[in-house]
Symmetry: C2
Subunit: 556 residues, 2 copies
């Protein structure tokens, strides 16, 4: 099914070895073989014939909506994918385009009636048919299904929603490749596709290091190219508070690294709309009661730690759970968050709550005694979560929590989503789903922790099968997705794209494609192509499959 | 001695913890403390007073040569460092400069006679005094010593050669910082400095992945900012042959990844002159007899592997050592290399020679028998190296070889430099120096292999003491330097700067500074500053010391 070829190797005599790597006629070892025109992630079903259609000249090639539905998201996407298909990259000035076009015409990269006549049949365009464009934003329930038939004279893409059409456009753009005659071509292909898991996310941490807007938008591009659909924005944490609140603007004034390292309300809206245009949900995380050191500007919010004589040490601990003022702040704050972010889910954290500071505080000790909690500070945490999640649920927001919340025995609403990040993930998933909670998996996909890049850690990342844990069918049905995570201690604008991509592609295929798509050597050749595709589209995705190079069509 | 301060933390109340990390008034943990105006690598001796001089306005500030020596390298360097000192980055258009200047003047960043009068004494410039500018290129023997006295009205830099002056200019530029009043200032300082080791290199591999010219030049900038002085250009290897030979142009035509991935003769000269202008030697490596799969276009050069019946398998092994035609090619080829690269050293490889293909070849078997080598293929390797090194020495070139050449018992000239890359490096250095060879160390500094970036691998890299091996004083005196290595399997233009820097800084300080400069926590604060300095100068050096941020003077 996969057309494997070696792009740009000058020698014609090549041999393919068992590990999916190639040798040239001089026996050059260990270059990773690259597929051509193979999609990533692998569609659910795909049949592809050896019949190949050259693309018509861009002056006649059309991507258009067959349906009558007004759908601005698609109009934008058509323009973007038109550029990607013909020029390899979504953004290009009109001047550059004209120059490029002239050059491409000269080199005969398109079907040309006078040259090719009836001997070659060109693909004249792509017609897109959707039945519904009413959803303003993608949601967990949105349909991403699509079918794609590539056949002359017009390829045809059908989907229920614009979100499915976006997925199909991405796939179509990946099917186009440069033939051995240097023409842009696409194979006769038929695809029926849909995601295996509904929630396919990537956590990005903008607290340990601030990430500028252009990097966040690049990240969203990368996600779209891999059909990921949830941008989990771990926007604040202990180290800094870059979110510029409408109601509490002093929080970023005091808590951001600097006045330059802040996301204004319009920045946030830009991220949300840029993501929406790519079929990506933005789920913000405001993690409490731990991981809140940068929230300290809210008077009385954090627990003052005390020494043995009861004097404040000057250090602060997690949010103080015993004060009504705490909840009086949390309510309007999360009201704002739920208004600013259109998604129905909010990630509310709940991980790694240290009890040391709570234990040191006299008022908290008295409260514990009054409540009859003894020395069981998990009960205090549960008290906090119960009151806090009540606020969140009153907003009709759906909370996602890190697994500790239920590990520590808090009785939360069964609609609460539990995010698993601890080892061994198999038993953790078993425990969480046994309690009846819906679950997301991230443990094996902490890409920041992935091993030595010299050993191709993407292979282990790819190898994970998220439903391979002991449990009933009902338990497994509760696992509705997962997320790659890139924690920010050692990444910023200089390297976050490189370290996240194409590693993140491995998670993306695992969450989209069928369970039986698991051949890591076959995947390597497609991953090498996918990474070059991303580089060509302007993203600094690093090489992860070994020696080799990206040769762009038309680069010579 | 180090002025430690926290740049840009909005809170005034901070506490410094034992591990060199800071907490803000809200107790935000684990931000790496940053030094201000602290040089990297640490100078040999440095005294610095609390007296601080603001810099005069750039319209009056002068960097000039006091000596009468004509020295174009310095003239260029003055312009570069002038920009770095005032604008933070070496290259800036005149228009940008004017805009920036206006803004900086408005914000009072310079000494201003009418404002500050006699209450503040400004630094009016830097006078540079060298006695000799006659060396066209830096060499192993070049002096890099300098003294720097920063005192009003003119700081004074004295060095024997332009190379020493370049080191001093770099140091001076690093002493300048932004005061709490947002003025550009420098502390009264006196420095006497010289390198501990004469050969401080960085190996860059352009064969596994091609690196474009702009990346190579960025790499040289990074080296200069860290006082490294040998660019070890591992230019070709098995995977590709991007060097465009004058005499044998077909080698890159056949052996490069593609026609775009070639270094022309003018590219090579550009690298050499750009390096020279920064006091950096370029030592090329053409590794033989192994690692030569991409040399296969040279007819008959590689050994044809044979199957048991004596038929060629189509695969090729290392260079064929038994043919006179081999040496008839190597002689003019290395003649060219020695002419193209001005350095007196050539790295000629000699590592990882696999004997399998040699063993399979009937002609070689016969040759072994005739020579009485039995089954000892190391003797055949020695035969090759003896004839080959004879050619190199006839050119009066000084060879550097990987350690296997002497490990395998080849009797080479004692002037040959042995490059140690195997573990355990302590005993390897002992063995090599015991035989009387000069040695370079790289084993612990394979930065491509450095561990999980989540664990700050730079700390282990920094911790290495290269002379901590069993041996006499005479043996230790033979170790004249070392090299960081970034092998190219998993790096290309997208990430080679990030993965090499600031990790390479750790090796640079180890090789330049005094043996007793080893406090890794103290180093962390200077490294955080050095990495932000590199970012400000336009290099994508990644964060390696944990959460934090770079606040550039004048960025607000």
């Amino acid at each position: 099914m996969l057309a494997l070829s070696v792009i740009g190797i000058l020698s014609a005599v090549i041999s393919v070895h068992g590990n999916g790597q190639i040798q040239s006629e001089f026996g050059r070892p260990v270059q990773q073989l690259q597929s051509t025109g193979a999609p990533w992630p692998q569609p659910q079903t795909m049949t592809s014939a050896t019949v190949t259609f050259p693309l018509a000249d861009p002056s006649t090639f059309r991507i258009y909506q067959k349906s009558q539905t007004l759908c601005p998201v698609l109009d934008q996407a058509f323009a973007r994918y038109f550029n990607i298909i013909f020029f390899g990259t979504p953004e290009m000035s009109e001047e550059e385009k004209l120059m490029k076009l002239r050059d491409m015409r000269q080199h005969g990269r398109f079907w040309n009636a006078s040259l090719h006549g009836k001997n070659l049949v060109a693909l004249m365009g792509l017609s897109v048919n959707i039945s519904d464009c009413s959803e303003m934003f993608p949601s967990l329930e949105s349909s991403e299904n699509y079918t794609l038939d590539v056949s002359e004279p017009f390829a045809s893409l059908t989907a229920h929603s614009q979100w499915g059409a976006l997925r199909g456009l991405e796939t179509f753009s990946q099917l186009v490749y440069e033939s051995s005659l240097a023409m842009l071509v696409v194979n006769k292909t038929s695809i029926t596709d849909f995601p295996r898991f509904a929630h396919r996310g990537f956590l990005v941490d903008t607290s340990r290091h601030f990430l500028p807007m252009d990097i966040l938008l690049q990240f969203l591009d990368a996600m779209a190219y891999n059909k990921l659909n949830v941008f989990h924005w771990h926007i604040v944490d202990d180290q800094s508070f870059p979110y510029q609140s409408k109601e509490f603007p002093y929080m970023s004034q005091k808590g951001a690294y600097s006045p330059h390292y802040v996301y204004s309300q319009s920045d946030v809206q830009r991220v949300i709309s840029y993501a929406r245009d790519r079929g990506i949900r933005v789920v913000p995380e405001f993690d409490t009661p731990g991981h809140t050191q940068s929230w300290g500007s809210v008077k009385g919010l954090l627990t003052p730690c005390e020494d043995k004589s009861g004097k404040p040490t000057g250090d602060y601990g997690p949010i103080n759970p015993i004060l009504n003022s705490t909840y009086a702040f949390l309510k309007p704050f999360f009201q704002e968050i739920f208004k600013v972010f259109p998604d129905s889910f909010i990630h509310v954290g709940g991980d790694e709550v240290s009890f040391d500071c709570w234990k040191s505080n006299k008022d908290i000790q008295n409260f514990m005694a009054k409540m009859g909690y003894g020395q069981n500070y998990s009960k205090l945490e549960a008290y906090y979560e119960k009151r806090f999640l009540g606020i969140v649920e009153d907003l009709l927001a759906k909370p996602i929590v890190w697994q500790e919340v239920v590990d520590n025995g808090v009785q939360v609403n069964l609609e609460t989503v539990v995010h698993v990040w601890k080892q061994p993930w198999q038993s953790e998933l078993h425990n969480v789903t046994k309690k009846g909670y819906k679950a997301l998996l991230s443990t094996p996909w902490y890409l920041n922790l992935a091993g030595n890049p010299y050993g191709q850690p993407w292979r282990q990342i790819y190898d994970i099968e998220p439903l391979k844990f002991t449990g009933t069918a009902a338990q497994k049905a509760l696992v509705f997705g997962g997320e790659a995570c890139m924690w920010g201690e050692y990444v910023d604008a200089t390297n976050v794209i490189q370290r996240s991509w194409p590693r993140g592609c491995a998670v993306a295929e695992r969450l989209w494609s069928a369970e039986n798509v698991r051949d890591v050597n076959e995947a390597a050749s497609r991953l090498a192509e996918q990474r070059c595709r991303m580089v060509r589209r302007g993203l600094k995705a690093e090489p992860v499959t070994g020696p080799g190079f990206c040769e762009f069509p038309g680069s010579n």
